[in-house]
């Protein structure tokens, strides 16, 4: 009679209903969202790319602006997805009780979390696409239209980051709890995964360590796609991201079941 929170999640089309709901809310608040999506990367790229780029010159044979833009496409998707998976999911799960309302319909936790994971990845995709567009205008996308291949990878990395963020929401008592995740997970990856500096500038031990970070693998694929270079070890990187996506989705479903099932 007791359901197991560890039962394998089922993937059902009804998850689309949650995506439709979130999209409708997003559309109502689209103005400020788009302003943030375009405004922030523009400032980053102009400030760091031109300012710091002036000092640095080229990195790994690339103009610094190009190097930076291709990294920020990935890191911005990470940040967007993490915010969505924590603050927004927590709001719907706890104070707003949106999931309680959904669970009185044929929707289960499996459907809700599948929808949330896809939705978060889509939001990451939107912010990455905005940066790619800004970067293209600044002449920092030498890969041309082939750079669009970076977007499916961004979606996959979005899935990989959505699960862990939702797990944080499921165990959080309040919004303050998310500070830990940002300090211990998001910010270190932001600084250490090759977004701002090439990995070979780190000490060897650290270079090995960062191989365990999903953002490192995302950057390793997304950067060459944007700058028009061949991707080394494409399969490995994609499998790492897919592994993070699958395992963290399973963990997120289990943890949200633990919180919402009574």
């Amino acid at each position: 009679m007791r359901r197991s929170i560890w039962a394998l999640p089922r993937l059902r089309l009804i998850a689309m209903a949650l995506i439709a709901r979130n999209f409708l809310v997003w559309r109502k608040l689209m103005g400020p969202a788009i302003a943030l999506n375009f405004g922030e990367p523009l400032i980053y790229l102009l400030g760091l790319g031109l300012g710091l780029g002036h000092l640095v010159g080229t990195v790994g044979g690339l103009p610094y602006l190009t190097f930076l833009a291709s990294g920020v496409v990935a890191s911005s998707a990470m940040t967007t997805v993490s915010f969505e998976g924590m603050y927004s999911v927590f709001t719907r799960m706890v104070p707003q009780k949106t999931y309680d309302a959904m669970m009185a319909t044929p929707m289960d936790v499996d459907d809700i979390i599948l929808g949330e994971v896809i939705w978060a990845a889509l939001k990451g995709l939107i912010s990455a696409a905005a940066i790619l567009l800004v970067a293209a205008f600044l002449g920092a996308v030498p890969g041309g239209f082939a750079a669009l291949w970076a977007l499916p990878v961004v979606f996959l990395m979005g899935l990989a980051f959505a699960g862990p963020a939702i797990i944080m929401s499921a165990v959080a008592g309040s919004y303050d709890f998310f500070n830990y995740y940002f300090v211990l997970v998001v910010t270190p990856m932001f600084m250490l995964s090759g977004v701002f500096f090439p990995l070979d500038s780190f000490p060897p031990a650290l270079q090995v360590g960062v191989q365990f970070l999903p953002l490192t693998h995302a950057v390793e694929v997304i950067r060459p796609l944007i700058v028009g270079q061949p991707v080394a070890q494409l399969g490995l990187h994609l499998w790492v991201l897919a592994g993070f996506a699958g395992l963290s989705f399973y963990g997120a479903v289990a943890m949200v079941r633990r919180r919402l099932w009574v």
């Binding site: 209903a17 709901r21 707003q96 009780k97 949106t98 309680d100 309302a101 044929p106």
Partner: protein, 314 residues
């Protein structure tokens, strides 16, 4: 809205069959071996103080709460296995408001239909009907956060009907509402019942239980103490009348009253005397008692208090 004709065809099969349900939260047994049967088209009420296990029981009926022992069938399907199929045919009005604050009244209804897998085009007419049913047509495009508490509750009820359910489950449907809204909701619930929808509700308002329910169970501490129609419950009480005395009642007088009646109890500065022969007691008290004497017929509230006691539940 559609008449529930198929319910009449299957009038023999109960919509809910519960047997020996037990629900444990750690050391606390929230539901302690309850059994009941709910017939189609009935309004079935769970009456009980806070913490009696009413809400947990409702959650079990919808497959939202696991149970540790027992057997539960809803609409002739087993729980928890058929939970999703059952929920497709049940509407829930929860105790706490969980409407979508980012949406208008109408959007809330359309969106909720999506969660049942119902397409927008298929429910357009139904949304209009439900807006009229809940007297919210004039608020259709208002944001939910601008609604009053009564309007929110009406919208929650309308939302619970979006899938044209066979059963509507209501957890304290009129708690915290003003009398106008309460009466309006009672009228709508009576309308639903007349259409053949089975209503299952929890309440601690005696008036609500008396007006709406065909069948009641009184619960306390996870157990069912009594079951029957409101009239049956009142008639099973050991007294037909209650005489309430306010003021200082001496021990001697209290003892005499107790010997003259079925039951008497002191609570604060009041004494309650339960009796089948109120005239004799009123005669005995006479005119000049110096006490305030209130005489009334025994009702559901007396049943409730006799069964569950006067202690506070906190």
């Amino acid at each position: 809205m559609t008449q529930k004709n198929h319910v009449d065809d299957a009038a023999q099969a109960p919509v809910v069959q519960a047997q020996g349900l037990i629900k444990q939260f750690g050391d606390f047994r929230a539901v302690d071996g309850i059994s009941f049967v709910i017939q189609p088209g009935q309004c079935f009420g769970f009456l009980g103080p806070n913490g009696a296990g009413k809400t947990t029981t409702l959650k079990m009926l919808m497959g939202l709460s696991d149970f540790d022992a027992g057997n539960l069938r809803v609409l002739d399907q087993p729980l928890p296995d058929a939970a999703r199929a059952i929920r497709a045919r049940v509407g829930l009005v929860p105790q706490a408001d969980n409407l979508d604050p980012d949406f208008t009244v109408r959007e809330n209804l359309f969106m909720y239909a999506r969660f049942f897998g119902l397409k927008r085009a298929a429910v357009g007419k139904r949304v209009d009907e439900l807006l009229a049913f809940s007297e919210l047509t004039h608020k259709a495009d208002a944001k939910v956060e601008t609604l009053s508490g009564g309007m929110k509750r009406r919208l929650t009820i309308a939302r619970a009907l979006i899938n044209n359910p066979d059963i509507v489950v209501l957890d304290e449907p009129t708690t915290g509402l003003d009398p106008q809204v309460r009466h309006m909701i009672w009228a709508r619930l009576a309308e639903l019942r007349a259409r053949g929808v089975t209503l299952i509700l929890t309440t601690h308002y005696m008036e609500e239980a008396e007006r709406l329910c065909d069948e009641l169970v009184v619960m306390d501490l996870g157990k069912i103490l009594e079951q029957g129609s409101p009239e049956q419950l009142v008639s099973r009480l050991d007294a037909s009348d209650v005489i309430e005395l306010r003021g200082s009642v001496s021990e001697g007088l209290f003892a005499t009253l107790r010997s003259m009646s079925q039951h008497a109890e002191r609570y604060g500065t009041a004494v309650y005397v339960y009796t089948h022969a109120p005239a004799a007691i009123l005669d005995f008290l006479g005119e000049d008692t110096g006490l305030t004497v209130i005489h009334r017929r025994a009702g559901l509230e007396d049943v409730f208090l006799r069964l569950t006691g006067r202690g506070l539940r906190e």
